[in-house]
Amino acid sequence: MRQTLAEKILSRASGAPARPGQFIEAAPDWTFLIDTSVRVILGHLAKIGLDKLPYPERVAVFYDHYAPADNVANATDHRNGRDFARHQGITRFYDVGTGISHQVVAEKGLVQPGQLAFNTDSHTTTLGGLSCFGTGLGAAEMAYVWATGRIWLRVPQTIRVVLKGQLRPLVDCKDVMLTLLGKLSSRAAIYRAVEFHGDAIQHLPMASRLTLCNMTTEMGAKVAFVPFDNVTQEHYRNLGIDVDGSLGQPDDGATYEKTVELDLGEVVPSVACPHTVDNVRPAQDVKAVPIHQAFLGTCTNGRLEDLRAAAKVMKGRTVAAGVRMIVTPASRDVFNAAMKEGIIADLSDSGCVITTPGCGACCGVHMGLLGDSEVCISSGSRNFLGRMGNPTSSVYVASPATVAASAVVGHVIDPRMLV
């Protein structure tokens, strides 16, 4: 049987050939927890009376959603989580300032191609950039996996997305995903795996691949992959980690539910307008919507390449009067690299506020919240009603270049109009 990568990985993890639609039981290689799940999972563990985790070496904990803590309840939560990790012997503990879980996992080479990883966060599909099966879970289920080392799963059908051609200047993979969302809708991949193929892939660096896979969550995907190739190999070589690439590749001739093609040369800077991620329009068609906040960061677009793209657009320009621009590097490594390159200084010179690495303003729990009826343009993944903490505000989702250009002019704009 020739298998897609999702089928192949689930076959290995369950010990039997996995076919789409089948329910299987699998043993995950990794289970990750984010800070917002700490109090919930500790409650569950207390209820089932699990005092010692049988597999602490398969666990990592990340403080990213409210880091540093913004109130006493969250600070106490953080403290309880630290005590818990120490008690359990969880050595992979990434405290305040390390960065967003998905980014840190990629940077540290925590997961490897072909592995099965779960995180109590919906954007775990990001790990598909590393040819790893990553997906999100709720806390009750994570407690169960921690207790038993097992999980029930339905084997997903796989959609093949074939990317051809080359991106034009000031267009990036965020625009690619927004274009696909606009065409296919936010329900296009519910309970499906997505595999990215095509000639264009070989030219896409790891950062772009992580963005592609990250945004498939907004299509409802369970998991997404860029199959292992030279770029993946290079990523692990730079980390000094030996990996078996064949584990991160689907079989030739695997069966796909359907194939979607996109010519990257046709993609233009795009914007998801309030309040759904598939309400997508070319940036040039969004008529000068005034903005109050611009936000550059997140697991979708808070990487070095993203900060660089924004700094390039903003070089020699400043944030418009009445607008604040918040820049939150996805991780400490991103922050440090951006500092060395002078990007942080450039962004600060342009009037941006630089914050602690982490999720920052993305989900409206921690900082950078919006006032009544304010408008934000964000490089994040979601523009749901109330996403940034206020149901009367609106969020537009766009690429780093579009966010930066909009911050400079004070309204939503196609970045190509600036140069």
């Binding site: 917002t36 919906s122 009750a140 009603l385 109330g386």
Partner: protein, 159 residues
């Protein structure tokens, strides 16, 4: 497993930021969580949810964040069954794994009327709405067992 009660109808693409706004993430007490169920749709919604044991939703119900409170708040408010044309996968898992019954059925959603009584037999895959019988694909038995036992952890504890 049988469930019945009056239906509350919501639309498509209802996300977890709406079902359980992020400002209440620090609330651990489920009874208190229930007071904010669907508050993202308006201040009167938690009371509406409380008065309706059956929730009927459109496409892509529960999309967005993995927050479990999206399921537990609804459950604590007294909802016994969520029917949708389709579910976001994490939300669906959170329901099952916390003991809240789910049915995915386009036909059942189309047939349901606001405040109309829905009587569903989850094992038989059959529901009665407005004097019509609607059939749906039941969940696999092992998932029904999880729901019946009150969730994955309750089942684990039972041994």
């Amino acid at each position: 497993m049988k469930v019945s009660g009056p239906a509350l109808i919501v639309g498509d693409d209802i996300n977890t930021d709406v079902i359980y706004p992020s400002k209440y993430l620090a609330v651990s007490d489920r009874a208190e969580q229930a007071l904010h169920a669907f508050e993202g749709l308006g201040a009167d919604w938690p009371a509406k949810v409380k008065a309706h044991p059956v929730l009927i939703a459109g496409w892509n119900f529960g999309c967005g964040s993995s927050r479990e409170q999206g399921a537990t708040a609804v459950l604590a408010a007294g909802v016994k069954l969520v029917v949708a044309r389709s579910f976001s996968r994490i939300y669906m898992r959170n329901c099952i794994n916390n003991g809240l019954a789910v049915v995915e059925s386009d036909d059942l959603v189309s047939a349901a009327e606001p405040d109309g009584i829905v009587e569903a037999d989850l094992v038989a895959g059959r529901a009665k709405v407005a004097n019509r019988i609607i059939r749906f694909e039941p969940l696999p038995q092992h998932l029904i067992d999880i729901i019946h036992d009150g969730g994955l952890l309750a089942r684990l504890k039972k041994g």
